[in-house]
């Protein structure tokens, strides 16, 4: 059973500000890292590293600043579904664009 349902986090104890400062420091350090890494030419890895860092930062914001860590399962499910639909939109669109050239390959091979 989820503890958040039994006792709301804000009523149960004096809330701590420490996680907020840690999250902020983490986000600032990650921003610096993504800036420094972008200076080096890593080929296709540049995009992958930049996006991975962005995803990490976004996750930290969602979990700590947006309190999803302490939220109900319903809220967690809603958050995940939001990003899942975004992933579906990008994936399905790109599965079209990436494979368009293949049609020409098939046609010329015939």
């Amino acid at each position: 059973m989820s503890s958040t349902m039994a006792e709301p986090a804000h009523a149960a104890h004096t809330p701590s500000r420490k996680p907020y400062f840690l999250t902020c420091a983490f986000l600032l350090v990650m921003t610096l890292i993504t800036y420094v890494v972008a200076k080096f030419d890593l080929g296709p890895l540049n995009d992958i590293v930049a996006l991975s860092i962005a995803v990490l930062k976004a996750t930290a914001v969602v979990l700590f600043f947006m309190h999803v860590r302490h939220s109900s399962n319903l809220t967690k499910l809603t958050v995940v579904s939001g990003f899942l639909w975004l992933a579906i939109m990008i994936f399905v669109t790109m599965s079209d664009y990436w494979t368009r050239g293949w049609l020409d390959t098939f046609a010329s091979g015939r």
Partner: protein, 226 residues
């Protein structure tokens, strides 16, 4: 607290009649806000998908055109937004420990960070107008010497730059407006450990706008840095 108000908030002044208790009311408002944010994810998602399509098509020129953006301003704005998210979270924390004046202070600081962001954005936009990098009849892209030259592809990059940062800036303006709406009730001490749903929901909105920028910064400013 009035006498006769139970721990779960029955009879609390802020409890709407259609909810059983404050916790249920809080849960409903958080859920509703996240459903709204899901539509926002897809709203921005359309632009992000467009970006991904053109980025893989005009890969080199996007990196080239990205070098005309000012990484220092963009990075500064990233830091400003991260700090504003911290002060927003601290505003809610202040309500949770019933510190009325701290709530007002942190909401004001968050607004100041938001306005700083918009100020820097204005300077950047002006730079782009001065350099004829705004898509339209006056668009004039000077290709770096010795590199492939496709001004029409660079124009697509700047169209996306203005659409994405413009929509984001619009959200920032709305966010600052929403925060100003919180000031008077905060000053009146309405937001307490029992009830501070408006603070929480507008906070969620503010953090969401921060997340959008967390993705915009590398996608627009950093792709041509090496």
């Amino acid at each position: 607290m009035h006498s006769g108000v139970s721990a779960s908030g029955h009879g609390h002044a802020r409890l709407q009649h259609h909810f059983d208790d404050l916790e249920q009311q809080r849960e409903a408002s958080t859920f509703g806000m996240w459903v709204f944010l899901c539509t926002e994810i897809l709203f921005f998602g359309g632009l992000f998908t467009t970006y991904v399509v053109y980025r893989q098509r005009f890969h080199g020129v996007f990196a080239q055109a990205s070098r005309d953006l000012n990484v220092v301003w963009g990075g500064t704005n990233t830091a400003v937004l991260i700090c504003s998210s911290l002060t927003m979270a601290l505003a809610i924390w202040s309500a949770q420990i019933n510190r009325r004046k701290l709530v007002v202070l942190f909401v004001l600081i968050t607004m100041a960070f938001g306005l700083t962001f918009l100020g820097i954005k204005t300077v950047e936009y002006k730079e782009k107008f001065d350099h004829h990098l705004v898509p339209g009849p006056h668009f004039h892209y000077v290709c770096p010497p010795g590199e492939p030259c496709h001004p029409e592809q660079a124009e697509v990059f700047f169209s996306l730059y203005f659409c994405m940062t413009g929509l984001h800036a619009l959200h920032m303006i709305v966010g600052v407006g929403l925060l100003s709406y919180l000031l008077v009730p905060s000053w009146q001490g309405r937001y307490t450990s029992d009830w501070h749903n408006p603070l929480e929901c507008i906070g969620l909105y503010w953090h969401f706008v921060d997340i959008v920028w967390i993705f915009l910064f590398p996608l627009l400013y950093l792709i041509g840095a090496h």
